[in-house]
């Protein structure tokens, strides 16, 4: 083997490259620290200020008058549960069936492409614009705010999530499963519902859970649809108390009792959303592994 020409080792260049690397990685580490610290700080403040407000009264008493001590968020919690509950009942079947259409029937048709595009937009559209639409549709027309309008606004936000997840899940089902069902003589609808959908049940439930988590935290669409109600009410046809709007009003007020309750409400929402997200992951992962 002949000797290869030796190029002199450029220690200067090597040093510079090393230093650049260290600086770059240090910067990236710093940004991780800043980003994660900032987010941890938020959760920490939430825990400190909010968790202490979550006592029995918080869950059992209604919102107090301004400047009155005591009270809780019972009406807001129940109101949110009802509004989100009904929105889930509305959006789940619509979302799943629309997802089935896109995946099983529409496929690549122009209509299906248009619908997918619309779903994409609605997924990231500002939720306050949805609130405007529902106001014009369901509040101005009947001339009063209502829990129903709030549910309608929230379901418009949840439907795209469910559609997208259902469609993605259904696409994962192997064609052989469908064909086997058809070969046994099942009608189309039975294959879709009892075989294909059932196969991805876990994933679809995950999608619904994520949609619920999203709805719970949404404030803007409820601002001018469900408005607010300082008393305990289960009448969906009238303004309804709900956690996000109450938190917003209380946090912007000067009353310390109200501000404490606002923190408690925020902590509760964060807890619920994080729990649902974790649950959805666990469910999904177990379904995938199974």
């Amino acid at each position: 083997m002949s000797a290869l020409p030796q190029t002199p080792f450029n220690t200067g260049l090597y040093k510079r490259r090393k230093i650049t690397n260290v600086i770059g990685l240090a910067l990236s580490f710093v940004s991780v620290t800043i980003g994660l610290l900032g987010l941890a700080w938020i959760l920490w403040t939430l825990a400190v200020n909010g968790l202490s407000a979550l006592n029995m009264d918080f869950f059992t008493k209604s919102t107090p008058a301004p400047g009155s001590a005591g009270g809780g968020m019972a009406n807001a919690i129940v109101g949110s549960l009802m509004i989100v509950g009904f929105a889930t009942l509305i959006s789940t079947p619509i979302g799943i069936l629309a997802g089935i259409y896109l995946s099983e029937f529409g496929k690549t048709s122009k209509f299906a492409q248009a619908t997918r595009f619309v779903v994409d937009i609605m997924l990231s559209a500002p939720s306050i614009v949805v609130g405007l639409f529902v106001f014009a549709l369901a509040v101005a027309t009947v001339k009063h705010f209502s829990g129903w309008a709030g549910s309608l606004a929230l379901s418009l936000i949840a439907i795209p999530v469910v559609v997208r997840t259902t469609e993605n899940m259904l696409a994962l089902v192997p064609g052989s499963l469908r064909e086997a069902a058809f070969a046994l003589g099942a009608p189309r609808w039975k294959v879709s519902l009892a075989v294909t959908l059932r196969a991805v049940k876990g994933g679809v439930v995950t999608g619904v859970l994520l949609a619920v988590a999203r709805m719970i935290g949404e404030t803007a669409p409820l601002l001018f649809t469900a408005l607010n109600n300082q008393f305990f009410s289960t009448d969906m046809s009238r303004p309804m108390a709900n956690l996000p709007v109450v938190i917003y009003n209380f946090a912007m007020s000067p009353y310390e009792d109200w501000q404490k309750l606002a923190w408690g409400g925020a902590a509760l929402i964060a807890l619920i959303v994080l729990t649902i997200n974790i649950l959805a992951r666990v469910l999904f992962r177990s379904k995938l592994q199974a």
């Binding site: 800043i34 980003g35 779903v119 500002p126 614009v129 639409f133 549709l137 404030t219 917003y248």
Partner: protein, 337 residues
């Protein structure tokens, strides 16, 4: 596989023992069953089509109602006049969108200015330098944080960040004398809103960037490492160029979210319908104007003008989203090497 009609029920054909004929009654029953299945399937398709159409209809409805409600304002001021009007005055019933659009764009710009480098850093860390055992939990933590509702960020911004900025950061920056840092230290204002938005956008953009970075084929990175590149050089010269389009798409998705964000901004933006060169001044974004003024809008053109603002916001976010989609689609198409 048949496209729409159901396949017939399995018929009892000739069995191994021999003669089994379809009686007329059997055949009739079979035909009836096939017909039922066919009609059931047609109905099923119709129903699912209806629901899919409902989704499409909802979007059309949103657009139509925004246009209809905004019409009186747009016809009074003209689209150009409304877009360039710098007065937003309910007391004079004169409205122009510049203040709100400016607030939206500036707060989003500040947010992206802080969020993009930090998200980059997080994504780089998660894909390259993070010890393997921490990778999953950290990644999951970031994704979970992306789901935290914006009202949480807003309330934290109001009670924690604003007083801190007012006491420590703003006086320092005001001393520099720069016009963008002029004015009394209020704590709330456009700058604070931008920072809160940045914190909100970071988990989201960091996850997207991390996902995009993970699509880089290992062979590309390994070959770069193999010839002696440092980690930083691999990121800069291999990963980033490869994922450039996807990264930009991710940034634009984050931007789209920042533009439309309501609650994180409304708490701390200060609610002032005034233009000011200083970042420490209070202002208004489109979403915060809507949140603050809609329920109480009184004079004749106020509500239509608010709807017109909503229309503008919708349009801005749709354009940004479409651009992001197009870019990310191009990015994934290039994925195969």
């Amino acid at each position: 596989m048949s496209a729409n009609a159901s396949t017939p029920v399995a018929q009892t054909m000739t069995t191994s023992t021999g003669a089994t004929r379809q009686s007329a009654a059997d055949q009739a029953r079979l035909a009836a069953k096939v017909a039922t299945f066919s009609s059931q399937d047609r109905w099923f398709e119709r129903v699912t089509f209806l629901f899919a159409a409902l989704v499409l209809l909802a979007m059309v409805g949103i657009l139509a109602s925004l246009l209809k409600e905004a019409a009186p304002a747009l016809s009074k001021f003209g689209l150009g006049g409304f877009l360039t009007g710098t007065t937003w005055s309910p007391s004079d019933d004169v409205y122009g969108a510049v203040i709100a659009i400016f607030g939206t764009l500036i707060t989003s710009a500040i947010a992206m200015l802080f969020a993009v480098p930090i998200s980059f850093g997080i994504a780089i860390f998660l894909t390259e330098t993070c010890p393997a055992v921490l990778r999953r939990p950290l990644g999951t933590a970031i994704e979970l944080l992306a789901g935290v509702p914006s009202i949480i960020y807003g309330i934290w911004g109001l009670f924690v960040l604003a007083p801190l900025l007012q006491q420590y950061v703003q006086p320092l920056l005001i001393k520099t004398g720069l016009p963008i840092f002029a004015g009394p230290p209020l704590g709330i204002g456009i700058f604070t809103a931008g920072i809160v938005l940045a914190l909100m956008v970071i988990p989201f953009t960091a996850s997207v960037m991390r996902d995009v970075f993970e699509t880089v084929p290992a062979v590309l990175k390994e070959s770069a490492y193999g010839i002696g590149c440092t980690t930083w050089e691999v990121m800069k010269n291999v990963v980033l160029p490869y994922t450039r389009v996807g990264v930009i798409g991710g940034i634009m998705l984050g931007l789209g979210r920042a533009l439309g964000e309501t609650m994180a901004v409304t708490f701390v933006i200060g609610n002032a319908n005034r233009l000011s060169p200083s970042l420490f001044a209070p202002g208004n974004s489109i979403a915060s104007t809507l949140a603050n003024e809609f329920a109480e809008a009184d004079p004749a053109l106020h509500v239509p003008s608010l709807f017109a603002l909503g229309l503008i916001l919708f349009f801005i976010t749709v354009v940004v989203l479409m651009a992001a989609k197009w870019l990310t689609a191009r990015g994934t198409r290039k994925a195969g090497i």
